[in-house]
Every structure is written in C-alpha cells, then in structure tokens.
C-alpha cells in the first residue's frame, strides 16, 4: 500500500474545522460534566437518600451503557416524542456520561477531605452550606485534578462518537473526505496525530495545574 497525502492537504481546512467543532463540544462538556458532577457528588454525600438515590440511579444508567447507544437513544429513540438537535444530543450524552464518572471522583475526594476541616470551619461560625462551598469543595477540586484530567483526556477522544449522529467534528470530517477520496489510511493517520497533539497539550495543562496546586493540598 503506497501512501498519498495530497488529498489530505485538500481537505485539511475541513479537518481543522472538524477539530474545532470537536474541541468546542469538549469545552462545553467539560464545563457541564465538572459542574454537574460536583453538584451530584455534593448531593450524594450531604443530602439524604431520598433525593440522592434517584440521582445516583440516573447517573448509573449513563455509566453502564455505551456512549454510542446513549446518543442513538437520545437522537432517534426519543425522536418519536422530542427532537433534540444533534449537537445538543452530543453535548447532553457526553455531558451526562462524564458527569457520572466525575461525580464518582468527587464523591471520593470530598470524603477524603478530613472531618477536621469541616469542624474547623463550623467552629469559626460558618454554616453547613458555607462550609461545603468555601472549604470542602475547593479542596476536593484540587485533589481531583489528576483523575479529572484523565477523564477529560478520554472525553476529548470520545467526541468522535458524535459523528454517528451527524455532528461535524473531526472524525465526521474525515469520513466525508474518505468517502470522496477513498484514502482512508492517510486520513486516519492524520487525525490520530491531531488527537495526539491535543492530548499532549492537555497532559501539559494537567501537569501545570497539578504543579500550581501542589502546595495547596
């Protein structure tokens, strides 16, 4: 098999655009899954079972089934009642999926913040909620950075699944180009490199964050 990368050059702008869409989705999903995961974790740790159990179940559903299936379900399965735009389906699916994983991490790190921290804050006169907000959550966030970083790196690659419901991200762009040019391997190699570059930047970012917060642990 001989390689010919000229078609890749023709479609490079399309690929870059796809990469941009993927990263944009990733950004929204990162925000949603971290904020949402934190909320779920706080509720599961501090609020009674009646409230937290249904929430955990909902989250659990997203943890146990493949992402692709979830996207199809939201997109086509629910299509008989409600039409959610593809990109929103992608964001919701990915968002809930990773919200579940992040919540798991946050629950562990919240529990790892020592009871002494809670008591010290209460003894200063902070209320329950203020203590969670000012003392527990910031410390849990800092401790979560390593695992959170791993999850987000996985998540960026998972944006590729969104091509299945027609979101024009990187893999989608490459599929289109491949179907026109019939040069699959050239495109696969190029998008693998693109993902890897993004991955390297994310790893650097994670290492930087860990360094910046190391003395706050």
């Amino acid at each position: 098999m001989e390689f010919d990368f000229t078609p890749v050059i023709t479609y490079f702008p399309t690929l870059l655009q796809g990469l941009g869409v993927g990263l944009l989705v990733a950004l929204v999903v990162a925000f949603m899954s971290i904020v949402g995961g934190l909320l779920v974790a706080v509720i599961s740790v501090y609020v009674n079972k009646v409230v937290s159990w249904p929430l955990r179940f909902f989250i659990w559903l997203f943890m146990t089934t493949p992402l692709l299936l979830q996207l199809y379900f939201l997109y086509f399965g629910l299509g008989e009642w409600i039409l959610i735009p593809a990109i929103l389906v992608g964001i919701l699916g990915l968002g809930f999926h990773y919200m579940a994983y992040n919540a798991d991490i946050f629950i562990a790190t919240i529990k790892a913040v020592s009871g002494g921290q809670y008591e010290a804050s209460r003894s200063l006169g902070f209320g329950h909620i203020a203590t969670i907000f000012y003392i527990i959550v910031p410390q849990a966030l800092i401790r979560s950075i390593p695992q959170l970083g791993n999850n987000m790196i996985l998540m960026v690659k998972d944006t590729s699944v969104l091509s299945a419901i027609g979101v024009a991200e990187l893999v989608y762009a490459s599929q289109y180009a491949i179907s026109v040019t019939f040069r699959p391997f050239e495109f696969f190699i190029v998008i693998a490199v693109m993902y890897y570059v993004v991955n390297i930047f994310m790893e650097l970012g994670q290492a930087w964050l860990e360094r910046m917060t190391a003395y706050r642990r």
Binding site: L61, T65, P66, L69, V171, F188, Y195
Partner: protein
C-alpha cells in the same frame, strides 16, 4: 412498543452479546499481562526501556481506539499482519486497555505508604519479597477497584469493534434497526443487555474485592 418484535429479535441480540462478552473477557485477560509487562518495563534502571514504555502508554492513550482498530485490522495485511476480526478485536483491545491498566496498577502500588516497604526492607526482605508479601496485598483492594472500572470501559468500548466487521451487540442492534425501522424497541433491549453485562461485571469486581480483603489477612 412492539413487544412481539422484541421477543422475536432478542435471541439475535443475545447471540451478539456473547461476542461482546467474549471479546471483552479476552481483551481484559490479555490486557492484564500487557499491563504487568508495562509496569515491569517502567521499573527498569535502563532509561530507554522506561521511555519506550512511557511513550507507548502516551500514544495509546492519546489516540482514539477505533483508529487503532482500523489501522491494525485494515492496514495490517499490507505489512503481512493478518488477523481475523475477532482476534484482531481482542488483540487491539488488550494492547489498548493494557496501557490504561498499567497506570491503574502503578497507581495502586504507589498508594501504599512508603514506610511499609521501608519497614519490610529493614527486616531484611528483598525487593521482590517486599513487593509480594507487603506491598501487593495492601495494593490489591485498590487495584481491583481501579482495574474493575476499566473492565466496564472494555465492555462499553467493545461496541467500537463493529468497525472491523465484528457483529457485536451494538452493530447487531444497528443492523436490526436497519431492517425493522424500530429504533426505540431495539435500543431499549440492547441497553438492557448492556446493563445486565455491566452489572454482572460489577458484581464480579465486588466479589474479587471481598476476596482480596480476605486474602490480605492471610
């Protein structure tokens, strides 16, 4: 909901589920050895061997799984590396999850307080003995937990193996939707099967976890 259809096609989905299970179990099994190998390589004093292991882990974790599948399955034959689809799914799956698993194993070993190893060494235990008698028993519980999470990832990732023409659960579901035009019924059924599989995996993890706790008390 068309329940007749659901009953009619469920044997097909269950058959496909077996392929999902088969690929997942074998990927995990071989992946574990890949992971141990990677952990071992990273303990070498000779730096290039460590770099090789780090680089491998970085590239595998940094590129999408389905691209790895496509490159090995469809690109492989042109360099004389030809595997049948399921074997290829297991092969790529094992080498993929091995990279993640090696990190989980390393992390759980490192989580054991270094004072434990020092205490053992000060009693005269050698490196290997310290690892086996002191560190691993204490790391086992955490290791089972983190490897267990990866087991679930493997089951779910197996849906991507369809791209190399393996008719596993998700692809079978997609094909059946193609001929029946009944997405809701088929997705519900498929999701249910996945939930059962994953639930079983979680049960096994829990069992192993309890076992490990018992073993650690010798």
């Amino acid at each position: 909901m068309d329940f007749n259809l659901m009953v009619e096609i469920s044997p097909l989905l269950i058959k496909a589920a077996w392929i999902t299970i088969d690929i997942s179990v074998r990927s995990l099994f071989f992946g574990f050895f890949v992971a141990c190998g990677l952990v071992f390589l990273q303990s070498f004093r000779f730096a290039p061997i460590r770099w090789f292991a780090r680089g491998y882990i970085s590239v595998i974790r940094g590129t999408p799984y389905f691209v790895q599948l496509l490159l090995v399955f469809y690109g492989g034959p042109s360099i004389g590396f030809r595997l049948d689809p399921i074997t290829c799914g297991v092969f790529v799956g094992a080498f993929n999850i091995g990279a993640y698993m090696s990190e989980a194993i390393r992390g759980s070993i490192e989580s054991v307080d270094s004072g434990q190893a020092e205490a053992a060494r000060s009693l005269g235990f050698g490196r290997a003995q310290t690892l086996v008698s002191i560190v691993l028993p204490q790391a086992a519980a955490l290791m089972i937990r983190s490897v267990g999470v990866l087991a679930i990832v493997v089951v779910k990732n197996s849906s991507l193996v369809s791209i190399i023409s393996v008719v596993e659960l998700t692809y079978q579901a997609q094909r059946l939707i193609g001929s029946t035009y009944k997405p809701l019924e088929i997705f519900t059924l498929t999701a249910l099967i996945y939930i059962i599989i994953v639930y079983a995996v979680m049960g096994i993890i829990e069992l192993a976890y309890r076992r490990a706790m018992r073993y650690t008390t010798l």
